[in-house]
């Protein structure tokens, strides 16, 4: 009897870059704080994984407000990586998250490759399941005026150096603000990344026509939400064709069908970002919706759906 029931229930568990996940639904960096903000509203134990707000070596104050504005089916933000810094994260935030049975991926960012290395070292032996390298924050400019993920050499340097000093899986978070995201993903793979997550936000802006001023204090910000989903999906599709390492699909996922699109395009896992703001239960609804879809379509294992896109014959 037990076995029969087990057979009926579809398998949502996956292994992501060596990290076992109960299901492929994660929450994206910067949209879920340090977990505690949402703990009263959602059962953290049900999530596939939590990716923390990006941590830097020193605490960061963040940008001057206004920092956020809603646009058509999306949100523009320029928070400026406000965070408590790695020491306070370890002492004050990590113990709370560790009370839950959920894999923890810590997002880190630095202004130099040395800072990434130092962060990875400080997080050694801290009971975390993985590191996500935020190479694509519009607020941190590496070297010249670029994000790290816009520069192949810098990307390679950061990924390969972090890989040398950590034993946990390393995931590189890519920027969509590039000509060819697949080539950046390839660089990450060559540098030893265990996975890539994509996409971070698109740079964008909004203007108040009454006073002709930018609405955000920083003038430009990062666009997220359903507005960017079709582009995110296309990028996941392109990256899936180019690399063998697992992909975490991110960009405007609001419902199970959105998540399934990303998985079919080639994402092994997905993360909810802006969707958490709209409805804190979005990740749970996505998990339940995926399971329902699998039951209805007699799919036993979610893994069989990854990259299962059926393109017409003769198409590239």
């Amino acid at each position: 009897m037990i076995r029969k029931a087990k057979e009926k229930s579809p398998n949502l568990a996956i292994e992501l870059a060596g990290i076992p996940l109960k299901n492929p639904v994660m929450v994206a960096s910067g949209t879920f704080g340090y977990g505690e903000e949402y703990a009263d509203l959602i059962d953290l134990n049900r999530l596939g994984a939590v990716v923390t707000k990006t941590i830097t070596l020193k605490p960061r104050l963040g940008n001057e407000p206004p920092r956020i504005v809603e646009t058509a089916s999306g949100v523009l933000n320029s928070i400026g990586l406000q965070n408590v810094g790695v020491d306070a994260f370890i002492n004050e935030k990590l113990p709370f998250l560790r009370k839950y049975d959920v894999p923890l991926i810590v997002s880190i960012a630095g202004e130099t490759s040395d800072e990434y290395v130092e962060l990875a070292k400080r997080l050694r032996g801290r009971k975390i399941e993985g590191l996500e390298l935020n190479l694509s924050c519009p607020n941190i400019k590496y070297d010249r005026k670029l994000m790290i993920a816009q520069d192949a050499k810098a990307t390679h340097l950061v990924v390969s150096r972090v890989k040398k000093v950590t034993s946990v899986p390393v995931i590189a978070k890519l920027s969509p603000n590039v000509t060819d995201i697949a080539s950046v993903a390839k660089v990450c793979e060559e540098a030893g990344a265990d996975g890539v997550s994509l996409i971070n936000t698109f740079t964008g802006m909004a203007i108040d026509v009454e006073n002709r001023k930018p609405i955000l204090r920083q003038i430009t910000g990062g666009l997220s939400g359903p507005a960017i989903k079709p582009i995110a999906l296309r990028m996941v599709y392109e990256v899936h064709k180019a690399v063998g390492i697992p992909i975490i699909g991110i960009g405007g996922i609001m419902a199970a069908r959105d998540a399934l699109e990303f998985i079919i395009a080639g994402a092994k896992a997905i993360a909810i970002g802006t969707g958490n703001f709209v409805d804190p239960l979005t990740p749970i609804k996505v998990i339940d919706g995926m399971r329902e879809y699998m039951i209805k379509n007699k799919i036993k294992d979610i893994k069989s759906m990854v990259g299962s896109l059926k393109c017409p014959k003769g198409s590239l």
């Binding site: 707000k53 809603e70 949100v75």
Partner: protein, 265 residues
């Protein structure tokens, strides 16, 4: 908490001003004056984000909202019908900090601008029940007589009510903050007023300044565009005093702050 709240009433009580009554027993039990709820005004992505509304009143198992139609979100909300359900998060945020019965506060002054009356009504009702010995002066400001809200409700609570309209169609002609100045200083040295203000940010800034000059404690409730509403996204911050300054979240550390802790731009 997140609940589906049934709309019991949604009526236009003044031009573009609406009162909504929601059945929300859990929120009604927990809500304190100054706290807010975060409402998804419609399914779909336009608007995408929730909209915050302070709790205007608690009546048994129901909560009341008082809102003005200012954009797409409130426009859609104003068209929602009795019997429909709204996805609501709340109660959220830190509300007004109330004087204890033993405190030396002798007078309460509430200064409301426009729909800022919404949260101060709940506060007046709360004080009149928990600390009935305190006298409450309410200064209400509006652009015109038509836009004045809740005057009668405050009087029914035995509050002294003074009214200011910018066009002079009722009461004092001018701003609520100017009218407030006319009552200061209060009855000599023995008075220990505590001021609560809610309204447009320019008004709060002026009242903050008056409170500094007259050296009385003042709490202000800020209005900001919010994304998450629970302190995670850090989108709604204001500058607060620290060494030299820090950012506080309107949704989680506020929306009510001591006027003295904020750095006004």
């Amino acid at each position: 908490m997140q609940i589906e709240a049934k709309i019991l009433e949604n009526e236009e009580i003044a031009p573009d001003r609406y009162k909504m009554v929601l059945s929300a027993p859990q929120i009604a039990r927990q809500a304190r004056p100054g706290q807010f709820i975060h409402v998804r005004v419609s399914e779909g992505y336009s608007p995408l984000l929730r909209r915050p509304f302070s709790v205007h009143r608690v009546q048994g198992q129901n909560i009341e909202l008082l809102y003005r139609v200012v954009g797409k979100g409130t426009e859609i909300l104003s068209k929602r019908k009795r019997g429909e359900y709204l996805d609501v998060l709340g109660p959220l945020g830190k509300g007004y900090r109330l004087p204890s019965v033993t405190s030396k506060v002798s007078d309460i002054i509430l200064v409301a601008g426009g729909t800022g009356v919404a949260s101060l009504m709940f506060l007046a009702e709360w004080i009149s029940v928990t600390n009935p010995k305190l006298s409450i002066l309410v200064v209400i400001g509006a652009k015109s007589r038509e836009e004045l809200l809740c005057e009668g409700d405050f009087r029914r609570l035995d509050c002294r009510v003074e009214v200011a309209t910018e066009n002079g169609t009722r009461g004092y002609e001018g701003l609520a903050s100017d009218l407030l100045q006319k009552f200061l200083p209060l009855s000599g040295d023995s008075s220990n007023p505590l001021v609560f203000a809610c309204g447009p940010s320019e008004m709060l800034k002026r009242i903050g300044k008056i409170s500094r000059e007259h050296r009385f404690p003042c709490q202000v409730s800020l209005e900001e565009h919010l994304a998450c509403g629970v302190g995670a996204c850090l989108g709604c911050v204001v500058r607060a005093k620290s060494s030299p300054y820090t950012y506080k979240r309107v949704c989680k550390d506020g929306p009510v702050f001591d006027a003295g802790e904020l750095i006004w731009e």
